[in-house]
Point group: D2
Chain length 280, copies 4
């Protein structure tokens, strides 16, 4: 088990009445328990809490009049990921996938798997199916992209990234997700907190569905997969923005952290990124 | 009430073992009841039936060895749509939308509402909010596109269509959905059967969320909205393909029909396309 | 006649041997005479001067070792534009266009007139052909785009701009050029100096071929067309970058000016932007 | 020397007065002489012959009233290509390129070398500069694309092709040109006749500027480079369409041929595609 303190402080200059949708709270899953959780809104406004969809995503909605808004989220998260031997984790054939997993084979806004299926098949079609093939996709993405803050925007897609060869965490995951879907492997985007991420920020990574479970991957290699705390999952980053605004407000500062309290004690001394970590 | 006989016959030449996912069965909703439903697969194979997601979508999965495959679906569908006066149907503010509706504000594969939001706002931002604004979007789409079979492909997006100004039903709906989302109006794609569609085929239309309900729109004007039978809803056409194949098979013929058995008796004699039809 | 002092000072930090191609010198045309021209390179290096193509474009090539490089260009330019009555300037049919003009009907990197021809025809096809139709294109571009520095990059095309509705001078001209070509009107990009441009910088505008001449247009309305000094013409901005570098150097400052010495004495008191100005 | 009989017969149904621009006549260059050339237009109309640009491109313009139009071009072309040893053909540094060659480093409509420069550099930047590097680009294109008639349209670009991995001769050359430009190697599109092309048609190939000459390459491997007869060169296919129409006419048949009369007698017995063939 790993205990992680996560949190974020967001401040906004709100100029007109604005509706905020926040996705900053940690999910509760069978592998992730949340305790000591607080959400403070200053000035105080009523908060609506929603569970959205099937996957444990949570949403807070507030309506704010003009002010300096500060949103502070804190929680302690206990991770108890499943750890499997990568060589035993196989791909799942379409004929055996649960129906709700099938959705994650479809192309999405930033993951045009219809466009890139042939590319995926040419590059990775000949590899042994299984966990190692998804790892090969991640390695390819890591090796062919340059991590370049500012090189992409909110409208950049996996196809753009494949051509321009630069991006940030969101783009790395979009490209890896797209290539997995192109290979017939369901894949979904995960927004979350990441231990030791530098510079500290919200992080974007992804999960692939293999052998009946969702396994975590981070093609940026910026964080250990057993230090990733899930906020939410979606088809791509379009589904899990940390904040969606309707009105007129400007983000003036953002502070994000994720600190490990108890060491995960990697059970067999193997570097954790060489293991298959499942959280769902 | 309107009674409609719908059905489709699909034949495939299956060359290798193939997994088929079909979305051809009518949904059951509070406004749509299905009776006398049959699904015949020849040669006979076991069929898995799934309900997918929250919205009543149904999926059949079959695994087929090499053969000539014929899939025949038939049903009688009773439509009891809600009928509202368009001028009483208002837009819903983000602060009051149910959480599961919020998803349909996000951009999706074929509906890049992030790219087209400014365009939507410039063209339609000044109009009176409500049903009539969505109708104005549909009119714009109808007037600015040429319905041209073959002018688009499976990868054509709303942005492509906005530039090239041609498309088919799927493209018309993608563009209208995208513009609605850009205006802050949740919108989703509907695949279905349509009475009197010529040439007969599966049809694509859309729903916008207004005043707490989903209202039907068909920007192609090829069918009456009170003769539309829902198969499934999704973010865009990527979610509701009538068939998804994994293996090696070729569609060799497709026959689709939707015939009205009982006349809807439009309650006030008003042409139905001037009314607000809600089905969910 | 109008006398204009133009110039630019560019400084670079050159980190490795770099080949520079500059397009900063004023063209000599039948309507534009250049005098008192100097080009100073510090530190001193040999300069190759080229005339490129048919249209009076000039190019300087230098090879520079690591240093702080300063390039200073100064000239006095006499403009003697032809001034015609807009209502007398007609479009030229394809059957009468000189062969070298035909090139400017082709789509180019940033002007996808093949993609936007239908759009152009729908918006402007019904208008009276002639100068006023190009003016209508310019008005449309001016009214539908927001001039927003930083909203576009070096790879932004006319189709992108048409969707996102923001851009800078280069984007305004690319879109107008594209729409003209879509209408069958040859159009080309012009890079130059512009009197009273604020903030001062190199400017991008365009010319359309009408009635046997090239007429100047500036859809940004940031400068008067009779105060535009041509550096070079091309299919789009790809052809007339003020500097192209091969090596490793960084632009550290750029200063550009264009000041009128003698007033043009607009011949009939009409605001000059309402006249048809021809320079070639 | 190689003697080749080339020709084409184009028939059109002309429905309204139409202006045709044809680029079907063989160029005369220092390596290509044209004799016994005829161009027949039935019914007879006056033909304007133009030389366009610097590179020997020829254009015929005719104005045709409604009719069945037949255009028949025939010529005998003598090719006397320069043949160099590939290992002696080096790349030319930007500092030594003639100014008119520099144009062919710019991105163009179908060759977005600005977008793909990083890709080109990553794949080919580490290779030995020279003829062999362009050959490596051609090999990569040949190996990664599937030649699939109908898989692309007139608006497909090199970036599209790089993603979708299918295309025809025009697409193969566009991608290779784009990658060359991304590497700093000037490259241009060539439209022409090709001996033994199957099925017979106009062909698209390209030239790269190396060691002071333009060398021919055909990444489709569908024709021998010493059997390629040049019609025209341009930045990409946008410049050298075999026919451009303004009016209303439909191509009803197209017949193209290129037959070798005298064998080229490959001078040293080496397969000619392993040699460096220069024509300009």
């Amino acid at each position: 088990m790993s205990l992680i303190n996560v949190g974020s402080i967001l401040t906004y200059e709100v100029r007109q009445q604005t509706v905020f949708l926040f996705q900053i709270s940690s999910s509760t899953t069978s592998h992730q328990q949340v305790s000591l959780e607080t959400l403070e809104i200053a000035p105080h406004v009523p908060v609506e809490n929603f569970a959205v969809g099937f996957d444990g995503n949570r949403l807070q909605r507030i309506i704010v009049e003009p002010c300096q808004l500060q949103v502070t989220y804190k929680a302690t998260v206990a991770l108890t990921p499943g750890v499997d031997q990568p060589e035993h984790v196989e791909e799942t054939t379409t004929s055996l996938m649960p129906p709700d997993v099938l959705t994650y084979l479809n192309p999405s806004r930033y993951c045009e798997s219809d466009l890139l299926a042939r590319f995926a098949f040419e590059e990775f079609g000949g590899l042994q199916p299984g966990f190692s093939r998804v790892q090969a996709v991640c390695n390819w993405v890591y090796e062919h992209l340059d991590y370049t803050p500012g090189s992409t925007t909110g409208t950049t897609t996996a196809a753009d990234v494949l051509l321009q060869r630069t991006g940030v965490c969101r783009d790395y995951s979009h490209l890896a997700i797209t290539l997995c879907r192109g290979l017939g492997i369901p894949a979904r985007y995960v927004a979350g907190y990441a231990v030791n991420l530098f510079p500290p920020d919200f992080h974007g990574f992804f999960e692939a569905f293999l052998g009946g479970h969702w396994y975590l991957f981070d093609p940026t290699r910026l964080a250990f997969v057993d230090g990733l705390v899930r906020i939410g999952v979606g088809r791509d980053a379009a589904d899990v923005s940390f904040a969606t605004l309707n009105g007129n407000a400007v983000l003036t500062s953002k502070s994000v952290w994720a600190n490990q309290v108890v060491d995960p004690n990697s059970p067999d001394g193997m570097p954790v990124n060489l293991q298959a970590i499942t959280t769902a």
